[in-house]
């Protein structure tokens, strides 16, 4: 049997890499591990916790669906057409990634606040954004839509435009070519973008807390319990959210891996 000598460089890189992997994994594992199953169960059985967690999941899902409805058509345009200002549009879509999220919350407040333009416009419809669920959705949408739009754009860009052209010659309208060819072929990218966006929305604290401290989403609840009662009280909820996020993450990896497997 041939023995492959491992270069010193590889050893060094592996050691450095192990350090950073440990840096991420250790706190997460430690947090979940330091909470006993009974403490976790107790946290789950608290109405306040359950409500906060389910509000977080729902609000993020609504934000994701709003982005699906508006962001995926935009992603298609970005993948298929060149138009003046395209770079600017792409830049705007990605800006939320770099803006501090508390600053984003302040900015949203200026538009969606009670006395602000959109806030006032939508008030007669019964939509209020401050200290209300729509505010949470808006905050989550703002900070996480880049993930879905970018993933969908890359997904559409990977579809050969000639497939849609052939569909047109076979009798498909542009609309039918989109539904029967482009969308099914980009669907897995869109789905993984949705999961990524949903997961990013679940974890949002900064923007949400400025628009809507109440009703409380899980990240705000963790913060409040830590501030008001200390670490022991915040820990079970933190562990619960880590577990939920991990499940979402596994789901994401499964969808992307199945795609890779199918192409290969």
């Amino acid at each position: 049997m041939r023995r492959v000598r491992i270069e010193p460089m590889v050893w060094l890189f592996a050691a450095l890499g192990a350090l950073i992997v440990l840096f991420v994994a250790a706190p997460l594992v430690w947090t979940v591990g330091s909470v006993s199953p009974s403490a976790l169960w107790q946290a789950v059985s608290e109405a306040e916790v359950r409500e906060a967690v389910s509000l977080t999941l729902w609000a993020s899902l609504v934000a994701t669906l709003l982005a699906l409805l508006t962001g995926v058509p935009l992603a298609y345009l970005l993948a298929r057409y060149d138009f003046p200002g395209k770079r600017l549009v792409e830049g705007i879509i990605d800006v939320p990634i770099v803006v501090p999220h508390s600053a984003a919350g302040i900015a949203l407040l200026l538009i969606f606040g009670r006395k602000a333009i959109v806030g006032r416009l939508l008030a007669p419809l019964g939509l209020s954004f401050v200290a209300a669920v729509p505010g949470i959705v808006v905050a989550m949408l703002f900070v996480s839509l880049s993930f879905l739009v970018d993933a969908a754009r890359d997904g559409f860009a990977a579809v050969d435009p000639r497939l849609e052209r052939v569909a047109r010659t076979l009798g498909a309208s542009p609309w039918q070519a989109f539904w029967r060819v482009a969308l099914p072929l980009a669907w897995r990218s869109i789905l993984s973008g949705m999961i990524m966006m949903w997961a990013r929305g679940l974890s949002e604290f900064g923007a949400v807390v400025i628009l809507a401290y109440h009703p409380m989403v899980a990240p705000v609840l963790i913060f409040e319990r830590f501030e008001a009662y200390g670490l022991d009280y915040a820990l079970p909820v933190a562990a619960l959210m880590i577990l939920i996020s991990l499940m979402v993450f596994v789901l994401l990896r499964m969808t992307t891996r199945r795609r890779a497997g199918r192409l290969g």
Binding site: D160, R162, L163, R165, V166, A167, R168, T169, L170, G171, A172, S173, Q176, R180, V181, P184, L185
Partner: protein, 347 residues
């Protein structure tokens, strides 16, 4: 079933580096027209414009007398087969073939019957449940043809349909294309950079170069009587010499001898002789045109050999292996080249 007649009037397409300039061309119903031009001459762009996938800057298109210039592709009834097939990767072979029929809301029984009949015609019966990624090039090309034919197009556009296939598959598919055309009679435009395909398939051939139509006619005619130097080079004329016509059907080559020709063309600036029409001998031959020269180069191509005899000018001569072995010429040897007056083409 029969195809539609296409008329292209002064079609102009500008697309970055590529221009199609005032192309005018008629394709008769049921005709098989082969458009040849060098790679990168924008043949794909021309087909996409005919199919309605691109807007021309100027010009008009008529199909069966009705103008279709501004009609969207889905309402033209023009089938398209791309060079690398462009099959829908998320659908099976059967679903690919049925794609257009399904859009028309064909009933299930009709759909299945039509898919089965096309699969039978193209030998795809065993592949119907497969995904495109698992098909060979030849199989994928057949599926692409079946998919385009399923909706009974009035005009079928084939973009270099044989170029990405290996030689054996290419020959088989070339026969298949000829057979399909005989059976269905669909008006077909086939673009290629290979003049040979024009010979085996085309009722007529159109040569396009630098965005302009240079010549159109039956393949044998274009092959024998190219209209200008570009076409002559493209059809593999080989020996093209500049010169001036004299009276009495004679033509003086620049810095060389006078050729006897069977045709007279005032204003001609070139004479051409196909390399396979020239005979090589040791004894002075009986021929209208005969010159002595030295064998200066020899390239063995297997079945044929390419030789160059410096007269001057230098003549390229093709010999079959059998003829070559009988004559057994040596490099540097003085030999006679000869050809009849009818082999000289002027343009």
């Amino acid at each position: 079933m029969s195809g539609g007649a296409l008329r292209i009037e002064a079609l102009t397409v500008n697309l970055g580096g590529f221009h199609l300039r005032e192309l005018t061309l008629e394709v008769a119903a049921g005709e098989y027209l082969v458009i040849v031009g060098p790679t990168g001459a924008g043949k794909t762009v021309l087909l996409e414009t005919l199919a309605g996938l691109r807007r021309p800057q100027a010009g008009r298109l008529y199909l069966d007398g009705a103008e279709i210039t501004r009609l969207p592709p889905e309402r033209r009834g023009i089938g398209f087969v791309y060079q690398d097939y462009a099959l829908f990767p998320h659908l099976t072979v059967a679903e690919n073939i049925a794609f257009g029929l399904r859009l028309r809301g064909a009933r299930r029984a009709e759909l299945e019957q039509r898919v089965a009949s096309l699969a039978g015609m193209l030998g795809l019966e065993r592949l119907l449940d497969r995904r495109p990624a698992t098909l060979s090039g030849g199989e994928a090309q057949r599926v692409a043809l079946a998919r385009a034919l399923a909706v009974e197009p009035r005009l079928l556009l084939l973009d270099e349909p044989l170029s990405s296939l290996d030689p054996a598959t290419r020959a088989a598919l070339r026969e298949e294309l000829a057979r399909l055309h005989r059976t269905l009679g669909t008006t077909t435009i086939h673009v290629t950079h290979d003049f040979e395909e024009a010979f085996t398939l085309g009722d007529r051939v159109a040569v396009i170069h630098h965005g302009r139509l240079r010549q159109v006619g039956p393949p044998a005619e274009v092959f024998r009587h190219p209209r200008d130097e570009t076409v002559a080079r493209f059809v593999g004329m080989g020996n093209i010499f500049a010169g001036t016509p004299l009276d009495g059907g004679r033509f003086r080559l620049q810095g060389g001898p006078v050729l006897l020709t069977a045709e007279e063309r005032a204003g001609a600036a070139h004479a051409a002789v196909r390399p396979e029409e020239i005979l090589l001998s040791r004894q002075p031959p009986q021929a209208e045109n005969r010159f002595q020269g030295r064998l200066v180069a020899l390239e063995d191509r297997g079945a044929i050999l390419r030789l160059r005899v410096e007269v001057p000018p230098a003549f390229e001569v093709w010999m079959t292996r059998r003829a070559f072995e009988r004559l057994a010429p040596r490099l540097g040897e003085r030999l006679w080249v000869s050809f009849p007056a009818s082999a000289v083409h002027l343009f």
